[in-house]
């Protein structure tokens, strides 16, 4: 699974920065019939968690109504240098992680 995250590499202390995360995932709703007429089983990401130096700053519960390859963007305050880490979990034991470094001056 490919994930693309965008965190500014450098920021001033107290600055509000935008964080973006995009992940490759089919987000199969569980309501669609497949080619043979039977329902394709649900396969979605249900949770996205984002931590900043271990502390949770953002959590999102995803539903079947969210399109494939979910893109999420939000803002946070740059408080200290460190790691911003993303973890996606979902159906069929889906788990993906990605992290980026931010330097706060």
């Amino acid at each position: 699974m490919t994930a693309l995250i965008n965190v500014p590499g450098r920021a001033k202390r107290g600055e509000i920065v935008e964080i973006k995360a995009l992940i490759s995932h089919p987000m199969e709703t569980g309501f669609r019939p497949g080619a043979n007429g039977s329902i394709i089983p649900r396969n979605i990401i249900d949770t996205l968690r984002c931590t900043y130096n271990g502390a949770e700053i953002f959590r999102m519960t995803m539903t079947p109504a969210i399109a494939a390859n979910p893109f999420v963007s939000f803002f946070t305050t740059a408080t200290e240098s460190g790691t911003i880490a993303f973890a996606w979990t979902g159906d069929n034991g889906f788990a993906a992680e990605e992290s980026a470094q931010i330097t706060v001056e």
Binding site: T2, K20, L22, I23, P26, M27, A68, N69
Partner: protein, 249 residues
């Protein structure tokens, strides 16, 4: 009264009077921003995957694309000139077909299925360095009959609705079809991410869409008709900028 008259005049103007523009210009600001921002453009997921595949050894020779071609950035300009003539096959090939040719000949690997995720990813990754370059179809005499065949197909009525490509994309480009602006059909951004598909797709998939829309029988993937149409459309879009990987609604 005068604005109404002006409106009527505008409707009566033939589409040829318009300047050429990419489907990008027909989109709203949100979708344009999505295409322009690599962190938000979902097609970049395919590009990243393609860049990994580029460096992955494949086939009996155990060589990766990078072993012969070097960095993928050296592919800049390639997408701007394809389809090109393949002397080995004695016919024009699209960029995706060229990738499969190289897999077969140079890597001795199995060909990737048309429209498969891997092939779309590799095509998008190879086309990405050409972004911003002007489309420059080769002036190769061997391509001319195929391009002419594409031009003939473009104006040939077909399907139950008895429409040709030109009926919509030349005669009525810029007007509305079911609330959507009919684009001028310049293939500047393929392979591209279409929100309707929730995936990246090739120009052939898009052409297939149009054929189904006119209730014509779509050609099989990689049919010579698609290659001929792509040759003609790229010539028609010559000089416009490559936008790969694009985003369309």
């Amino acid at each position: 009264m005068i604005p109404a008259l002006l409106g009527l005049l505008l409707l009566a103007l033939p589409a040829q009077a318009q300047t050429r523009q990419s489907g990008y210009a027909d989109m709203g600001p949100e979708l344009r921003a999505m295409q322009d921002d690599d962190a938000a453009n979902p097609a970049m997921l395919w590009v990243r995957e393609g860049e990994l595949l580029w460096r992955m050894p494949e086939g009996a020779t155990g060589k990766s694309c990078a072993d012969c071609h070097g960095d993928i950035k050296t592919m800049a300009g390639v997408a701007a000139r394809y389809p090109a003539f393949s002397a080995a096959l004695n016919r024009p090939v699209t960029l995706a077909q060229r990738i499969n040719l190289s897999r077969r000949e140079n890597q001795q690997a199995a060909e990737l299925a048309p429209e498969s995720r891997e092939l779309l990813a590799l095509t998008a990754a190879i086309a990405r360095p050409s972004r911003g370059q002007a489309i420059a179809p080769p002036d190769d005499a061997r391509l001319r009959p195929f391009r002419a065949a594409g031009a003939a197909l473009f104006t040939q009525r077909q399907g139950q609705l008895n429409l040709s490509c030109a009926n919509c994309h030349e005669d009525n480009a810029g007007r509305k079809l079911a609330g959507v602006t009919v684009p001028q059909a310049h293939p500047t951004a393929y392979p591209l991410y279409r929100l309707e598909w929730q995936s990246v797709g090739s120009l052939q998939r898009r052409l297939r869409n149009c054929l189904i829309g006119t209730r014509a029988e779509p050609y099989a993937y990689d049919a010579p008709e698609y290659v001929a149409l792509e040759l003609f459309l790229m010539q028609r879009a010559a000089g416009m900028k490559v936008e790969t990987p694009g985003v369309r609604p």
